[in-house]
């Protein structure tokens, strides 16, 4: 088998891949990993987002990739620059878990589901359909997205690997 070119996406980071490269991000907990894909141009993008909204940001130079509401427009723009069309884009996502079940949960501890909700809102705004998702639960995930066939493979400790 030919070794595929792997593009790593860190925490609060985003990147794009073309020419059959594979995008990978590890250790998604309450963070959401979003994969976007233009099936005709074969341009793929991935973002590893930590927080739902940049409104709460208290930093001066915000890292666009960290917040769902800023990461998604930025990712789309980067993909368009690489030749993708937003009208053709499809989305898949994973993550948004609740790692610890705590009693008396405050809103900040429900961050996983809120991240997922925020992603859905943003994707609807750009009219990008969500083909599949594997979100929620209480476990971590590592995801890999193949820019050739648009398969998202998800690995977790308890459930092994699956593809969506």
């Amino acid at each position: 088998m030919i070794e595929q070119n792997l593009v790593k996406v860190g925490m609060a980071d985003l990147n794009i891949a073309t020419d059959g490269a594979v995008l990978k991000t590890t250790g998604l907990g309450s963070c959401v990993g979003l994969a976007l894909y233009d099936p005709i141009r074969r341009v793929a993008g991935m973002a590893h987002m930590m927080l739902p909204s940049s409104e709460i940001a208290r930093e001066t130079n915000i890292n666009l990739a960290k917040y769902a509401d800023t990461a998604i427009p930025e990712l789309i723009e980067r993909m368009i620059k690489a030749g993708a069309y937003v009208e053709r884009m499809k989305a898949k996502m994973a993550g948004g878990a609740q790692m610890f079940a705590m009693s008396g949960q405050s809103d900040s501890l429900r961050i996983g589901p809120r991240n997922v909700e925020s992603c859905i809102v943003m994707l609807n705004r750009f009219r990008i359909p969500i083909l599949s998702q594997d979100t929620g639960g209480n476990f971590g995930r590592t995801i890999e997205f193949d820019s050739i066939n648009g398969m998202l493979s998800i690995r977790s400790v308890q459930f092994g690997t699956k593809e969506i």
Binding site: M11, L28, G29, M50, I56, R58, F100, G140, Q158
Partner: protein, 206 residues
């Protein structure tokens, strides 16, 4: 981030001492539980990019057992007690003569026992810290997870996410019997808590 770049060397030393006192008491508690001497490494205080934090326990995908406590009170923060699988099994065997079967995960009883061990150790860490600083620090009910280190630790970084891309953590490692049992404490005070800790200890900045 700019908040932390102002930290002076002596302030970092103060935080190291915080880690030393807390983990020292926790190590004593563990030593009593095991009835064996437990050694402790010099605490490390570091401002780390999110990406590198999980590297401290073997990488983002390393499977670890983590007990998480949210610290409430005057100096809120997040606390993790993290051990690797081998150490966890050894702990279970030594303390409770439970022989956790390899590969089959953990039973509810074993997880509950590990959670309680984490709770005792983190509790002694925090209570010694509270005595030392005269700050009220109340740990929440502990929660346990067996999962990828990256997924677990990112949970404790949310408060930092709003401020920058790195977090300050106070890390202490302890060893029993030459590394046969290794555990890590991560105390990640909320960004607002540092000034309170400094003030409580008479380190006035600015």
């Amino acid at each position: 981030m700019s908040l932390f770049s102002r930290f002076e060397a002596f302030e970092l030393d103060v935080l190291k001492e915080v880690g030393n006192i807390g983990a020292g008491n926790a190590a004593t508690a563990l030593s009593r539980l095991l009835d064996k001497p437990v050694d402790m490494a010099v605490p490390k205080v570091s401002l780390l990019p999110f990406e590198e934090i999980a590297e401290r326990v073997g990488g983002s995908e390393q499977i670890v057992i983590a007990v998480f406590l949210r610290v409430e009170g005057e100096a809120p923060g997040n606390m993790f007690f993290i051990i690797e699988e081998q150490s966890a099994r050894r702990l279970l065997r030594q303390l409770l003569s439970m022989d956790a079967e390899e590969q089959h995960g953990y039973s509810e009883m074993e997880l509950s026992a590990l959670c309680e061990i984490g709770n005792i150790l983190a509790g002694s860490y925090l209570s010694s810290l509270a005595d030392f600083t005269h700050l009220l620090m109340a740990p929440s009910v502990p929660a346990i997870a067996v999962d990828m280190a990256g997924a677990i630790l990112s949970y404790g970084l949310m408060q930092y996410g709003e401020m920058g891309d790195s977090a300050l953590l106070i890390e202490t490692t302890f060893l029993e019997d030459c590394q046969s049992l290794e555990g890590h404490f991560f105390l990640i005070p909320d960004p607002e808590s540092f000034q309170k800790i400094f003030r409580a200890l008479g380190v006035v900045s600015e």
